[in-house]
């Protein structure tokens, strides 16, 4: 009876640095039938106990990456290890040590809240007694203690989302994969979820989260990879990524007309590092905000340019993303 789906692993397929890294990919690639290169030669390392984020717009390849790491998407090239096991050749062992929350509500509708947790534990090899006590514990953790006998459909959306995450933890995984966990959740629910995730991380769980909310990435993740078109554009802590923007102030301007002459005037202002068009908007990166706005206004008046909107902000992950790709995260 064959229990692996891939070819037998050669000896050299043992995981690189598996003591330090929980997730490793090497040249990981997925080309879908039809030619879409969703993930392109991805090299990624997520350290043990790390809260790691994949940040990028829709279609960047985040979900495909998580799909491959969790055995649901078959890669077309490269290799990957989770917890030291080769995902291609040992999918069953990998599934045993990971918890997965996908973008879909996959709760078992024919079971109660408590039974969802209990049978999940059973699938993952917990004994009846272990699974029972774990289901009790998790139900309290996700604050659904009073709903233990409720069928899934009788729970609110937020409760179902909490149960989903609780279920992914019911077999005490080494790594938790969360694919856009807060999409479609109200702001209050999002913050409650962030608290739960921070708590789990503080207990030593390795977490890989995908998101296109930069606030979420900034709030939760120790390190981030910014992804677009299946490639990693930058990797580092939120602070390191923001330091890549040398400027301390970003001013975005909506002006008519945004003429070349006006842009040239802006570039000549003191303290300005760069001026670039981002779609309709002019983006000015500067070392200081002091005196900058009056100077911009004066330059505009001199060229008879009308300023319809001016926005001043400190560099954010959003500006890092725009600088790297020329696009916004949510277009």
């Amino acid at each position: 009876m064959a229990t692996t789906t891939g070819p037998a692993a050669p000896a050299s397929s043992s995981a690189p640095d598996s003591a330090q890294n929980t997730i490793v990919t090497r040249g990981l690639t997925k080309v879908y039938p039809g030619g879409t290169r969703a993930v392109d030669a991805l090299d990624l390392e997520v350290r043990r106990g790390e809260f790691f984020g994949l940040l990028g717009p829709n279609g960047a390849g985040k979900t495909t990456t998580v799909g491959m790491l969790t055995t649901r998407v078959v890669p077309t090239g490269g290799d990957m290890w989770v917890g030291g096991f080769n995902v291609r050749t040992q999918p069953v062992v990998v599934k045993r040590i990971i918890g997965v929350v996908t973008q879909f509500n996959t709760l078992d509708r024919r079971l109660t809240a408590w039974e969802n947790l209990y049978y999940h534990g059973r699938y993952f090899g917990l004994s009846r007694a272990e699974s029972r006590s774990e289901a009790d514990r998790i139900l309290e953790l996700v604050q659904l203690g009073e709903k233990r006998r409720a069928m899934v459909d009788a729970l609110s959306g937020g409760m179902q989302q909490r149960l989903l995450i609780g279920r992914a933890l019911a077999h005490r995984p080494e790594v938790l994969f969360l694919d856009e966990p807060t999409t479609g959740i109200d702001p209050q629910g999002r913050i409650a979820l962030w608290d739960v995730l921070s708590h789990l991380h503080s207990e030593g769980l390795t977490i890989l989260l995908t998101t296109h909310y930069m606030e979420e990435a900034e709030q939760l993740c120790q390190r981030l990879a910014i992804m677009d078109h299946g490639k990693i554009l930058a990797i580092g802590s939120p602070a390191e990524l923001k330091e890549r923007i040398k400027a301390s102030t970003i001013v975005t301007i909506l002006a008519a007309p945004a003429s070349e002459a006006f842009l040239a005037d802006l570039r000549a202002l003191s303290g300005v590092r760069s001026v670039a068009m981002r779609g309709e908007e002019i983006e000015v990166q500067a070392d200081t905000s002091r005196g900058l706005l009056p100077a911009i206004a004066t330059a505009a008046m001199a060229r008879e340019v009308e300023l319809t909107d001016v926005n001043v902000q400190a560099p954010s992950l959003e500006t890092v993303f725009i600088t790297l790709t020329g696009r916004k995260l949510r277009d």
């Binding site: 009876m1 064959a2 229990t3 692996t4 789906t5 037998a8 692993a9 050669p10 000896a11 043992s14 879908y32 799909g67 969790t70 055995t71 649901r72 998407v73 078959v74 096991f85 050749t89 040992q90 999918p91 069953v92 062992v93 599934k95 045993r96 997965v100 996908t102 879909f104 509500n105 996959t106 709760l107 078992d108 509708r109 024919r110 079971l111 039974e115 049978y119 999940h120 059973r122 699938y123 993952f124 090899g125």
Partner: protein
Amino acid sequence: MTAETRQAASGSLAISLVTFRALMERDLKVLSREFVPFLARTAIQPFLFVFVFAYVQPKIGQRSANFGDILVPGLIASAVVLQGIQAVAIPLVTEFSQTKEIEDRVMAPLPVWGVAAEKIVFAMLQALIAAAAVVPFVYFVPLERPHVHISPLVLFTILPLGALLSASVGLLIGTSVSPRQIPLVFALLVVPLTFLGAVYYPWSSLEVIRWLQVATLANPLLYMSEGLRGALTPSYGHMNYFGVYAGMIIGCIASTYLGVRGFIRRVQS
């Protein structure tokens, strides 16, 4: 295989077996909760059939009293087929589309084909329960007690083969149609299969409608009805056992292969 992968593979096997058993446990829990409706759903149609055709009609002189003999193997076979197909196809279609639950089952630690295999095995169990549920009706309801001579060896090989065949056809249907198409598939495929599967007449008696006799060879249910006819009411004549077993084994292999392949393609991209 290196020693390392061999060890991982045997670890995988042990993990997978535990998971398989737990999936069965979950399905048993759900079935036990819905057992009475399940029995009612399974038994009502066969009951009405024997009541009308083997009790009412003979009683009012519209039909000969031995029709009950014909219905014994036929209704058991059609119960197995209907239940085997439904037990996989209907929940699976929902799990694939509306609820996406299948993603959860697929993340359980066993190979993807193991999830499909569990669905087949559990549907086989339901098909066999359905067969047992029909037995009292086909035996006690007719005006005359049916003349039954049981061949245990044939009976207890045909029933599991028939259950496997039906469950794997159910897997094939469940992985290849959308929820909207399900009523249509049952109306246009499953109902004709049961009507034309030698349920209400022995296949050998079709000699006078030769084209139908040949055409129904494509119906997998035919082989089970005929096999059960041999196992229960041999005096009415039945297809020879070589044909019966060949038809069932080929049908099982083809539908299991296609069903499991379809399932894997559907859940992995």
